[in-house]
Amino acid sequence: MPGTVRSKPKLIATMFEYDFMRTAFAAGGIVALVAGAVGFFLILRNLTFAGHALSHVGFAGATGSVLIGVSALWGLLAFTLAAAVVMGLLGNRLRDRDVAVGIVLSLALGLGVLFLFLYSTSASEATTILFGNLLGVSIDTLWSLLGLSVATLLALAMISRPLLFATLEPELAEAKGVSLRFISVSFLAIVAVAVAEAAQVVGVLLVFALMVGPAAAAQRLASRLGWALILAIFLALAETWSGLALAYVTDWPTTFWIVLLSCCGYFVATAKGALDWQATTRVEP
């Protein structure tokens, strides 16, 4: 930072004097809650790449909505939700269709590029959609995020029990009367909303870091299901807020810091998990 030389503690202390910082902390916190919780089930269900795919489809929606003058959040949401329902209905038929899925994703990104071209906008719009801009979240968007998060968390709480059952033991769950298709479609719809929200924070390209990173780390650190879920949410929150603070201090992009912290968290947890595993297997007779 040219000109002023300020000590870091003072910088941190001034952080909440700015409206945009307060909004960013609120928006980041709201999104992190959802991302941590949804990411936890995403990993258990082995659907992490479905989440990744949804965010790519969302790119076309986000750029398309900018073209017609609607907030990027709603375009993202429309596209991710539509894609989630299709993926849920196709279900197992999508397995081993990597090529088909990849080509549809490329088409979505290609469409996004076309929409950007037609809008003939500056590159900054594209950068915001691709890599997020938490510091630029408006009050309107904040309220939208709050509403979406409440709805998502309520829906997830409603289905979490049969979701867990159907995830761990699909055949048994089906035998007990759980509709696997309903669970699959409704969970993917929840993922779609979470992806659209997370894209506001870290952008469509890096949704993976916010949704999968904290949850993956938590599952390595805590073996109890409940603790792992709480830890996933806590890590997502801690990484987002620390990322914001670091961005404020350094002036580097928030997204970079969040992704870096997510990555570090994951590798530290993996290393610790590997050590624990060695320790427990050694005491076995």
């Binding site: 289905i159 033991e169 048994l172 599952q219």
Partner: protein, 281 residues
């Protein structure tokens, strides 16, 4: 065949309805293809029945039909005298172990607990009664030491015991066990068979147990149910596992050899049970 099927050789007075399971000219299909055609058989309460047959002969289809997944195309299937319904609490089910299950980072306890009334809406909090039931189920399969370990740290036999604990939740009267011995070493196979036998006898549960090889179950089964060519034969090992009965069922020459207390079944070209131990219908 029908005479054999109709005979309950170990009648029990515990249940008012005579049969635990009754198939009455039931036709079962899987994926639009008829697997079992107008099959009749009845199984008594407290009986241990081994189910055998080549891949695709309908072992899994039969077990799933008893769960109503899906119900028979025609004919009737009754469980304790009542027609089929999905989610029947009387039936405990151990599905074939699917790929990826053993990689889960989930603790043994949480894995078993997920099946306790897992069909209900809301949060997966099972309450004190649920916790008691889960603990009892884990005790019954002697898996206390596995409750705190992750599935990814367990052996195939240990995961199988947790699956059995899930099947026992809610104290069912019938256990449907689909290939619980698959890909286990002989030592662990014997341990699982002995465990199931002990539970079956102390709790008077009816057990249907599918397997590729009948030898691990010899001396434990009350009767065998052989499936092949869309047909079924049920009876004691001595009645069913013979050259004549199996040749007629398979519609090809079958030779049965008894070597000490083991049995080898050969078709024209080789052992019948030597087929790939893979996921089957």
């Amino acid at each position: 065949m029908d005479a054999l099927a109709a005979r309950c050789h170990r009648p029990s007075t515990r249940w008012l309805a005579g049969c635990a399971i009754e198939l009455d000219r039931a036709t079962l299909a899987r994926g639009g293809r008829i697997v079992l055609d107008a099959v009749s058989a009845s199984i008594c309460p407290g009986e241990f029945v081994g189910i055998f047959g080549p891949n695709g002969s309908g072992k899994t289809t039969l077990l799933r039909a008893l769960l109503g997944l899906p119900p028979p195309l025609s004919g009737a299937v009754r469980v304790f005298g009542r027609p089929l319904r999905r989610g029947n609490r009387m039936i405990g089910y151990l599905p074939q172990q699917r790929a990826g299950l053993a990689d889960l980072p989930i603790r043994g306890w949480d894995f078993v607990a997920s099946a306790w009334q897992g069909e209900r809406w809301g949060l997966p909090l099972i309450g004190r009664r649920g916790q008691q039931q889960v603990m009892q189920a884990i005790d019954r399969v002697e898996a206390q030491a596995l409750a705190d370990r992750r599935l990814s740290q367990l052996s195939g036999g240990e995961v199988q015991r947790l699956l059995l604990a899930q099947a026992l939740l809610g104290r069912p009267r019938i256990l449907l066990l689909d290939e619980p011995l698959i890909s286990l070493d002989p030592h662990f196979q014997q341990a699982i068979v002995a465990l199931v036998r002990r539970i079956q006898q102390t709790e008077e549960i009816t057990v249907l147990f599918t397997a590729h090889d009948l030898n691990p179950l010899l001396g434990v089964m009350d009767r065998v149910l052989y499936l092949a060519n869309h047909q079924a034969v049920i009876g004691t090992v001595d009645e069913v596992v013979t050259d004549e009965v199996l040749s007629r069922l398979y519609d090809m020459p079958i030779a049965v050899y008894r070597i000490k207390d083991r049995i080898a079944v050969f078709a024209g070209h080789g052992p019948v049970e030597a087929e790939a131990h893979r996921h089957d219908v």
